[in-house]
Subunit: 406 residues, 2 copies
C-alpha cells in the first residue's frame, strides 16, 4: 500500500553524470540490482551518512574515500546491506570498489560504495564482481529512471525528482533519485539518495548545503522512528555549465540553487513517507509558537511517532485526546496547556486545554477522510516553527514487518 500516485516524474539528465544499471542477481536472479554512476572529472561530491553506531561497511568506506576528493564513481547494490559483517565486509566493499574502478582506469579510493538489503550476510562477491566490468559500456546520460529502479528493495515504486531553472541564459538542472520505505526496515529499507546538478559548487559549501537540505527533509520524516545502518544522502556538482563556481552562501545563483535543492530533498523525502509500509495517509505534523527549534522537533516527533495517534489516523478518527496527550509528554518544560491550539488542516480542534467549543465531530471526520492531512500545533510561547512528515499505522504495517524474514 502507498499514498498517492506512483508516476515517476521526468528526470532530466545532468551533464557530467552517466548511469549504468546492471543485474548481478544478488538476492533475486535477473533483477536489476547494481547501479554505477560515473562523474565527470572535477565534480564536487558531498555526503551525509547514518548516525547509527552499527554503520555498515560501505558507509565506513565512503567516510574514508570522500575526504580524499576526486570521486569519479558511485557503486550501489541492492539486495544485501553489507552491514554487521565485520572485517570481511569491509574487505568485500574495498574489492568491489577496486573492481569497478579498474574498468574505468580509476583507483578504488575514487569510488563511493553503497549497499542496501539484508543485514548480517556477506555480499555474494562471486555474483557481484563479474558484472562490474560491464558498467563502462552501459553508461547512459538518460539512465536516472532505470537507476531509481535498480536501487529499490521493499519500495513499491521508484522515486525521483527533477527541477530546472535558468540563470544568465543557462539551463540549470537538479535531479535526484531515492529509495526507502520510510526507514522502517533497517534490514531492507535503508534510505539512499543521490542528487546531482550541473552547476559548479565549492566542496565545503556543497557539504553545508546538503546538510541543511537533509535536516529539513530526510531528517524530518518518520514512519516508525527506526533508522538504518546504511542511510546515505549524496550530492554531486559536476560544473559542466558556463556559469561561475558558487563559492559562498550568497548571491542570486546560490539562492536559486539552494531553493531547488531543498525542494528536491523534500520531494524525495515525502516520496519515501508516501511509500511507507502499510501507509494509507501522508501526514504533516507542523509545530509553531515554540521557543526554539528543539521544542518544535520534540513535539512534532512525539505526535508523529505516537502509535496511538497513528492508529487513530489509520482509523480516520480525529482523536484529539491522543494528540494532546502526545504534546503533553513531549517534554517541553513549562508548557502551558491552556495556550496550546491544534488544528486538523483548517479545523480548530483544541484550545484552552481542551476540545475547542466550536469543534464538531463532523468537521474532524471530514478532514480525516483525506489522504493528506496536516496536524497544525501552536504552542503559544514563541516564534519558532518546524514540521515533520509521517504516516498512519495500519494492519499492513504489522503484517509486512511480522511476516518478513531477514
Amino acid at each position: 500500500m502507498a499514498v498517492g500516485e506512483s508516476v515517476l516524474p521526468t528526470l532530466h539528465p545532468v551533464a557530467g553524470v552517466q548511469l549504468a544499471t546492471l543485474s548481478a542477481g544478488i538476492k533475486t536472479p535477473g533483477r536489476a540490482d547494481v547501479v554505477v554512476m560515473a562523474l565527470a572529472e572535477g565534480s564536487s561530491v558531498a555526503g551525509v551518512f547514518t548516525q547509527n553506531a552499527f554503520c555498515a561497511a560501505p558507509v565506513k568506506l565512503c567516510k574514508q574515500h570522500l575526504p580524499l576528493g576526486d570521486i569519479r564513481l558511485l557503486l550501489t547494490n541492492s539486495g544485501n546491506a553489507n552491514a554487521c559483517t565485520g572485517e570481511e565486509g569491509l574487505a568485500d566493499a574495498r574489492l568491489s570498489c577496486k573492481t569497478v574502478a579498474e574498468g574505468f582506469g580509476f583507483t578504488g579510493e575514487q569510488v563511493l560504495p553503497f549497499s542496501t538489503g539484508v543485514i548480517g550476510e556477506r555480499l555474494p562477491m562471486e555474483r557481484l564482481l563479474p558484472v562490474l566490468p560491464n558498467a563502462a559500456a552501459q553508461l547512459q546520460d538518460d539512465g536516472w529512471s532505470h537507476a531509481a529502479q535498480g536501487i529499490m528493495t521493499t519500495d513499491t515504486r521508484p522515486k525521483g525528482a527533477s527541477v530546472q531553472f535558468t540563470h544568465d541564459g543557462e539551463l540549470v538542472t537538479v535531479t535526484g533519485i531515492t529509495k526507502g520505505s520510510g526507514m522502517i526496515k533497517p534490514n531492507m529499507a535503508t534510505m539512499l539518495s543521490y542528487i546531482a546538478t550541473d552547476l559548479a559548487v565549492n566542496q565545503s559549501l556543497l557539504q553545508n548545503l546538503l546538510k541543511a537540505a537533509t535536516d529539513c527533509s530526510f531528517n524530518r520524516i518518520t514512519v516508525d522512528g527506526d533508522t538504518s545502518t546504511n542511510d546515505s544522502n549524496i550530492l554531486i556538482a559536476t560544473g559542466q555549465l558556463n556559469l561561475p563556481c558558487i563559492e559562498a552562501a550568497e548571491g542570486e545563483l546560490y539562492d536559486k540553487f539552494s531553493a531547488a535543492l531543498t525542494e528536491i530533498n523534500i520531494q524525495l523525502a515525502k516520496a519515501i513517507v508516501s511509500d511507507g509500509e502499510g501507509a494509507t495517509k501522508l501526514v504533516t505534523v507542523k509545530v509553531s509558537g515554540a521557543n526554539n527549534e528543539e521544542e518544535c522537533v520534540k513535539v512534532a516527533y512525539a505526535v508523529a511517532q505516537s502509535p496511538l495517534v497513528k492508529t487513530a489516523l489509520f482509523a480516520s478518527d480525529a482523536n484529539w485526546g491522543r494528540i494532546v496527550a502526545a504534546i503533553g509528554y513531549a517534554g517541553v518544560e513549562g508548557l502551558d496547556d491552556t495556550l496550546v491550539t491544534v488544528h486538523l488542516d483548517d479545523v480548530l480542534i483544541v484550545e484552552k486545554g481542551g476540545r475547542a467549543s466550536s469543534y464538531t465531530e463532523e468537521q474532524g471526520a471530514a478532514v480525516m477522510q483525506q489522504e493528506e492531512i496536516t496536524i497544525d500545533i501552536n504552542l503559544g510561547r514563541g516564534d519558532y516553527s518546524d514540521r515533520v512528515w509521517t504516516t498512519d499505522l495500519s494492519h499492513d504495517y504489522v503484517s509486512i514487518n511480522a511476516d518478513y524474514r531477514s
Copy 2:
C-alpha cells in the same frame, strides 16, 4: 489478549485501610466504577504523578491537597478521566472531594481524587455525586480485590500484589492494586496504583521510597511509549503496628520494607505490561556494561520501543539485525559496535559487530517460542546496568486502537 495467568493473588488487608467499591454508572450502567479508600488518622501518604503537561484535573488537585497533609480519603472513578476539561473539570473534582468527605466529617482537602477513562468529557456529576454518601457504610478491611476491579478500564483483568514479612515478632503487610494496559491508551488506560503498608514511615522518606520504587518499575515499562494525562502512584503508611516509625534510610526494618516495596511495584508494573493491548509476549530488555544509567535506559527503550523489534517478537522471529540497528541509533556516543554482545535469554546472538559465529537460527527460534523472553545487551564499556519491560506489537494492538472511539 494478555500474557500469562490471570489469577489475582491473595491481597492481604492492611490495618488502617478500608475500601468501598460502588457503582455510579459513569460510563456503563451497573458497572463498579467508584472506589473509596479510607485511611486511619495519622497515616502518611506519598504520591508520584504524570509528567504530562496536559495533566488532568484530579492530578492538579492531588498536587494541591497532598502537601497539606492529613489525607484521609482516596476517591477514584473509572470511565471518565476528567482530563482536558479546563476550569469546569477542576470544579467537578473539587465538588466530588467535598461530597465524599462530608459523609466522613472530613474536608475536601483531606481527599485525593483520581479519574481514569475518556479524555475531554465532563464527569457525569449527576450520577457520581449521589453514590458518594454511601461509601462510609460500605467500607471493608478486605475490599482490595473488589477495588482492583472497580478501577479497571480497558484492563482485561484486575491486578494486585501483596507481600508480608515479620519484624520483631510483628507481621508487616504491603499490599497494592493497579490498573492500566500499558499506558498505551491515554484516553482510557491511565496507570493508577495504590500501595499501602501498616508500618509507620516518615512522610518525606515515604516520598523518596516511592520515587525510587517507581523509577525501577512503572518508569521502566513501555508498551508503545505513550504516557497518560492521569498516571498516579500512591503509597500509604498507616502506622498501625507495634513498631517504631521508620525515620531514616537505614536499618534492618527499612531494608526489609524497601525490598518489599520494590518487589510490589515491579510485580504491579509487570502485570500492566502483561495486560498490554494485544500483547502475546512479556519481554525484558536488560542493558549492562554501560557507562551510566542514562546509557542503559536509552538503549533499553530504543530496543523496547522499536516497532521493528516488536513486530519481529510478535512473529517469533529472532531478528538480531533489528535489535542491533536499534542499539545503534539509541544515541550512545562513541559506542564501539565490536564490543557489544546480545543474548536472547542464554543464547549469544551478536558479538564483534555481527552475528555470533556460534549462533544458529534454531537456537533463536527456540527462545522466541516462549511467552517470556529476555533480550540481554552488554555494551562492553562500563559497569552500569538497568532493564525495562515491554511487549510485542501485534495485529490486535492495531485493531484495538484503530477501532476504539473515544
